[in-house]
Amino acid sequence: MKRELWYEVIVRDRQGKLVSRERRRSRSFLKQWNQLMYVQMTGRSLPGVMRTSGVTFTLSEDANNFRMDGAGSNYGIVCGTGDTAVAIDDYTLAVLIEYGVGAGLFNYQAGTISTVSIAGSRAEFVNSRTALNNSGGLITVKEVGIYTRAGPSTYVCGIRDVLETPQDVPDGGGITINYTLEVVA
């Protein structure tokens, strides 16, 4: 079995013209991802789970768990400017680019989730999101990840990747990140 996670990063300028693209195998899922799966599979609460804010809480099974199509920067695919190496205990992006239109901010669009598709022995679905740069200046993205809901109003970082190549997103342009979760039987 191969169970894999890929990310694709696409940058466009203000005219929508492709500037750069990078597709790479993701590394990695973080501790919080497995903690979410544990509480869902067992129905047992788990104390000491780290929010994206750095404050711990008790995680419980919940219909909101793993929701990752968010608006804003609380949950969904997010971008950052940090480049510290990924560690299993990461609970946030190193330097999150917050939602907004001011300097250093991204105008995150709503995320989309595809249905599961089957091709041969492969099953996959794609989580996509575009962030527009209306900040008035260039923003360099060095890291991407997925924040998921962990209860009605609690958020955890499930996935984080440091980009192989930092991506310059010009003012008026945008960056699209596609995370593909796939399994091959």
Binding site: M1, K2, R3, E4, L5, K17, L18, V19, S20, R21, E22, R23, R24, R25, S26, R27, S28, F29, L30, K31, W33, N34, Q35, M37, Y38, Q40, M41, T42, G43, R44, L46, S60, E61, D62, A63, N64, N65, F66, R67, M68, D69, A87, I88, G111, T112, I113, T115, V116, I118, S121, A123, F125, N127, E164, D168, P170, L181, V183, V184, A185
Partner: protein, 213 residues
């Protein structure tokens, strides 16, 4: 920043990395009536099947989608606190870890074990104990947790040909009232060699789910 044409982009596709970031492994042990281990198989699992990701996609954007249950019926499911639930009580076989005699290779579209062993003390039946678990632990760059289940052979004779293992998980639908639970195959493995369980003995299956940074 330099502007580039469609034909002059920084495009990189990396098709290989060495370390899988998410893993699933299994340990299968058979003990005799005295508790002595007489057979053991430990291996990486293959594989999660599509229902696992069907449920994930439902939770990812809180949208109802269809998913095939262990009876082969397509069910509409919703995000719910009972999703991927595998912690079955003793004697319960609708969900939780199961074993069977099927030998057909795993397919991504499998929705049940090929030939699951039923609950009981009759011929070729096993008494299913409660599904156990060990909470996540982080060692080095890996975080893992386990679920496990023992099944006892009180059938009066040896059960031969145990060749497949897997996990059934529960989900629900909440639109138009709570419906279900529905039971879905989450993952299934065909063992490299058949196992036999002597009368009075037991088989214990432990699955480990891990992520590695």
């Amino acid at each position: 920043m330099n502007q580039k044409s469609e034909n002059d982009i920084d495009e990189k596709t990396v098709e290989k990395e060495l370390v899988p970031t998410m893993g699933l492994t299994h340990l299968v042990e058979v003990t005799d009536k005295d508790g002595k281990v007489i057979q053991r198989i430990s291996a990486p699992s293959r594989s999660f099947v599509r229902q696992w990701y069907d449920i994930m996609s439902v939770h990812a954007d809180a949208a109802d989608r269809t998913c095939k249950d262990t009876d082969g019926i397509s069910r509409t499911i919703s995000p719910h606190e009972i999703s991927w639930f595998a912690l079955a009580a003793a004697t319960v076989t609708t969900h939780g870890i199961r074993v069977g005699k099927g030998t057909i290779a795993v397919s991504i579209s499998d929705y049940k074990l090929e030939s699951p062993i039923e609950e009981g003390t009759g011929l070729d039946q096993l008494e299913h104990l409660v599904v156990g678990y060990v909470a996540p632990v982080t060692i080095g760059s890996t975080c893992s947790f386990t679920i496990n289940r023992s099944m006892i052979n009180n059938s009066g004779s040896t059960i031969t040909g145990i060749k497949e293992i897997g996990v059934y998980v529960q989900t629900r639908r909440v639109t138009n009232g709570i419906m279900g639970p529905y039971n879905m195959l989450g993952f299934r493995d065909v063992l490299p060699s058949a196992m036999y369980i002597p009368d009075g003995g037991a088989i214990t299956v432990t699955y480990t789910l891990k992520v590695t940074a």
